[in-house]
Structure formats: C-alpha cells, structure tokens
Symmetry: C2
Subunit: 336 residues, 2 copies
C-alpha cells in the first residue's frame, strides 16, 4: 500500500508519518511507500523500510497535485492548510491554499479516473461551526463558519462529499477538536493559550491566560488526532451515507477545569506559573466558541479520544516530555 | 442606481429585468442603468428609459466578471448558473459556471475595493438540502446537498457569507423553492413534472406524471421568486447576522394536492389530461425531497409567497395566460 500525506511537515503530519513509519502497516496491510508533501519538502521519518518521496510544493501550483498522486496512492491523508490566523490575515492566500489546493488534489485524482479511487482522509476543523450555538452541539448542527478558514474547510468538506458521491474518491472529513496540548513554541494562533497555559508550566515556564475560567472548548490530544486519522484510513465509510464529514470525539473542558487538571497532576507550583492578563480582544473572540459536542456518529464508527482532561495532560507528558515534567525547576516523574 | 443581473436571459432573469424596467425604480430610487449578462447577450427589456448594456459572456471566462462590474453596480442580482440536470451531467462545467463563475464575480468586486460594496442578491436553491429530512425543515437545518448543483450552491453561499463578513460585499442568498408553474416548453429537469402536469392541462395538452400523489414539494410562483429578489435588494440585512442565506417562503403541496387545486380551478377535464406513467428512476429521485419548511427568518424579514397552491395556479393564469386557460379546446376565463 502506498500512502500520501499532504501537510506532512506540520505538527500532526509529522506525528502521523512517524507513527506509520514505526508500524510499517496500516489496517493490516504493509506500507510499501510514502509520499510526503509540504510547502517545504518534509524530512523522511526515521526507520521506515520502504521508499519515501518528499515533495516540496504548494498543492495549488500547476502540476503539484498531479505529481503528488502520480504513483496512485491508496490512502491520501490531506492535512495541508494555511492555519486559521493566516487565512484571516491573508484572504487570497487562504483561499488559494485551503480551497484551490484541495480542489487541485481532488481534480488530479479525478483526472486519473476509474478504477483509481483512493481513500481520502481530510482534516476539517471545529471552525466549521459558527455561533450562535446550542448548549450541546449534535451531529446535525449546521456548518455556518464565521472565519475564512472555517469557510474554506466547509467548502472542502462539500467538495469531498460530492467527489465521493461521484465515485471519484472515497472521502471522510474529520472535524478536529482543539488540539491540546500542542508541543513546541507558542504560536500566533489566538487559541494558543489553551495549550500554552499547560505546556509552559509543565516545562517550568510562565504562561499568560487572556480569558476567563469559564471559557469552554472541545479538546483532544495530538495522539488522539493521529489516532483519528489512522482509524479513518481503513474503516468502512458506508454508514456515513452522503454526509461525509463529522465532528471527532473530545473532552469538553473550561479553562478552569483545565487548570484544575494541571493542579492535580503537577501541583500548585505549576498553576502559579499561569499569569492572568485579560485581553479584551481575545476574550471577545472566545465568548461564543463551541465547547460541548455529542459525537454519536464518530463514536458509532469507533473513533475514540481521551475521556478526561487529566488524560490529555498525561498524553503530553508521555509523548513530549518522556514522562517527566517540571514544576518550577524541580523535575519529577509524571503519574503514568 | 445601477443594477447588474447575471443570468438575465433565464426565465427568472427576464421577468426580473421586465419588472425593473416597468417600475424604473427600486426601493424608492430611480434605476439609472442596467447591465444584463448571460452566456448569450440578453435582449434589453422593453420600455426601460435608461441605458442597457447587454453582455454575452461566461462569468468564469477571464475578464468577464471584471467587465460586468466595471460600472460599479449598486445592486448585483446573481442568477447565472448551470441548472441541476446539466451540473449533474457535466461535472466540470457545473463547477466552472456555478463555482468559478460566482467566485470570479465576487473577486472582481473585491478587486475594485472599498468603498465599493454592492448589495449582492444570490439565488441559491432548495437543492442546498439533502436527505434525510425531518418532517418540517427549520432555518437551522444543515445544508448537506446530494447533487453537484446543490454542492455548488452551498459553496457559493459560504463564499457570499465570508465576502460579506469581510466587508467586500453585502450579500444575501435566497434558497428558492421549486418554481412552479414554470412557463414555456417542458425542460429536461427531472422535476419538470411539478410544473408540466399543471401547465400543459391548462393549455389543453396532455402531461405525464411519473410519481405518486404523495410526493411533496415546496413551491413558489415565478412572480413570487421575482418578488423575493426585489425585496432582498433593498432591505436591511443586519438581522441576518453571519448566516446570510435562508430558505424562502412557499407552499407545501403534494402532487395530489396540486391536482386537487387544478381540479378546483380548471375542472375535471383538465385533470383528465394528466396521464400517470410511473417512472421508477424519477420516483426514486423524489422519494426523499424536502417538502415542508418553516421559514421564520424569511417571514421576519418580510419575504412573502403564495399561501395556497390555488394561488400559484392563479398567478400562472394571470401572468402567462392573460387570465384565460383551456380545458381541452374550450377556453374559459380564469377566476381572477
């Protein structure tokens, strides 16, 4: 089996490539080759036995998508995207990468033609939804995004469904929860505080919290996100019918609940590193976010995430901190 | 005020141009000029005092959209589209006209830049919705189309909302009910029987009914459709918030109820001209159509349609048959 990952140099893309390289199989079949595309050619994952073809290209550029699917990958993980902040800041670039890039990929698959019909696993986003929200958001809640990024993701979902209905590909769109705890340096995303207020104290560093404790979000760990992708790659998608995109499971937690989990795991010393510095603009942005879902469709299909925020923190300690974390300068063992 | 109509040679486009030309005003302001675009240059409406610029062009062709908006129309009625049957039969053409054409129009407006910010009235469709449906479809029902045409219309709605949010234009998307009774010759649309089983008997001709009496659809007359467009052109759209597209009011009627209305108006002789000829393919297509809506948002904004199927038939007799209709060869006066 041949696998293509677009956006393979991103945080989730790298973890996915690493996990596939380590397993050497997917859904019980050997992985013969990997094609890894990103705007800068991705570094091949360590330890993969087969050939890896890195491509440095913008999917929207002429010929890039054709090149990416030229070896007719059986599975396409389509992760490549401009993130939400950038899609908002650069209108044209967001549409070029997030809409034209996706369409170019689907069109390249269409032009190869039957019997080629790859499984396409597309990462959509919680940004597919826009306020006003009900208390609990169900699988049939409308996708009325309020950002350019969310708009582009929903358009991609619609294309995915139509190309699937036409038999051109076999697609599934995963609306990812907020991915938490994001490893690495703080990024510019306004939502960065959800991760940084945990990640930084666990590393003994200060973090700024710009919103109130009541702000509620829907979270899953990077480990779960990779798990969703791998699960989606081989399951039977017929139960989805025509509605090919769905919200992934997660943990509903308020910022206050996140902090309480941090306290249980890393103690009061860690919590003291969170500096409250209310930011009216960020507060306004997170007044009306979708904080609680009922993800019955995903559950029925076997998608699983953490079931507590403690487990999300533990996943970070295991996967990113080698089981150890700091409270101030004092390194101690994580609980699991 | 300058008005642009795309798709101005279509059935609704012509009626809209005629109505505007007759009124010479819109929302209390004089109409100074009309630009009328269609794939073949539209015929200027009779009796309009100001200049009319007909353009024969495909909006998706390079430069066409720029040319159409070069005079900075205050109101853009964007009706141009490949119809549902054609979008399904010709995948590439459907996306080129219905997606790329719309995007080209919006981009041409964006490139002019502030302070230019026209009102854009976009005709979306009942095809924005896909089964399974609840008994009554509310304003918050998800848009999960099951045709390429419906997919393209929902993508256009998403673009309209995002371009509006960005302040590039001031858009509203009208999801039109099934337009009934369509004048003119029977067309190839699978849904054509909803109109032809009324229009043909009213003209003394036979018509074929391929589905059961229980099939239920949501209808409005061409006159109402033009009314929606004109109303949408000048009302305050702020109450819509971020959700800029909405279902238009209509009449829920089963085929049986349509026939009963025909009987009340034109007698048993007219009904006898309907030949039942069950078509398994058409029956299957119309097993799961959205037949009943609760259009509270549209009502609150002042959109009005017929409130009975009898009124839909009467509108046809007045607007298309000069108040007269045939039952067999026997012409008689309509009731109103």
């Amino acid at each position: 089996m041949h696998i293509l990952i677009t956006g393979a140099a991103g945080m989730i893309g790298r973890k996915l490539a690493d996990r596939l390289a380590a397993a050497q199989t997917l859904g019980g079949r050997a992985i013969a080759a990997l094609t890894l595309l990103d705007i800068v050619a991705p570094v091949p994952p360590a330890g993969f036995a087969g050939p890896v073809r890195p491509i440095g290209a913008d999917l929207a550029a002429p010929g890039a998508a054709e090149s990416a699917v030229s070896a007719r990958p059986d599975i396409v993980f389509h992760l490549a995207a401009v993130v939400s902040g950038e899609a908002e800041a650069d209108f044209a670039k967001g549409y070029r990468v997030n809409l034209d890039g996706t369409r170019a990929l689907f069109e390249a698959i269409r032009r190869i033609g039957a019997p080629y019909r790859p499984r396409v696993v597309f990462t959509s986003s919680i940004a597919a939804y826009g306020a006003p929200f009900p208390e609990v958001i169900g699988d049939e809640f409308l996708t009325a995004p309020l950002t350019s990024y969310g708009t582009q993701k929903v358009i991609d979902e619609l294309l995915l469904a139509d190309y699937t209905r036409r038999g051109i590909l076999d697609g599934i769109g995963l609306r990812l929860p907020n991915i938490c705890i994001r490893p690495g340096a703080p990024n510019k995303a306004a939502s960065g505080f959800f991760s940084s207020t945990l990640r930084e104290p666990l590393a003994g560093r200060e973090a700024v919290l710009p919103v109130d404790d009541e702000v509620r979000m829907w979270h899953a760990s990077p480990r779960s996100a990779v798990g969703f992708l791998i699960h989606a790659a081989t399951i039977d998608l017929a139960p989805l019918g025509g509605r090919r995109s769905l919200m992934m499971p997660g943990v509903s937690a308020s910022v206050g609940e996140q902090i309480a989990a941090l306290r249980r795991i890393a103690g009061e010393e860690a919590v003291r590193l969170i500096r409250r510095e209310s930011d009216p603009m960020v507060r306004a942005m997170f007044m009306t976010i979708p904080g609680r879902f009922e993800t019955r469709r995903a559950s029925a299909l076997g998608f699983r995430a953490e079931t507590s925020f403690d487990a999300i923190i533990e996943a970070h300690i295991q996967d990113e901190l080698e089981g150890r974390f700091a409270s101030n300068a004092d390194h101690r063992e994580g609980r699991s």
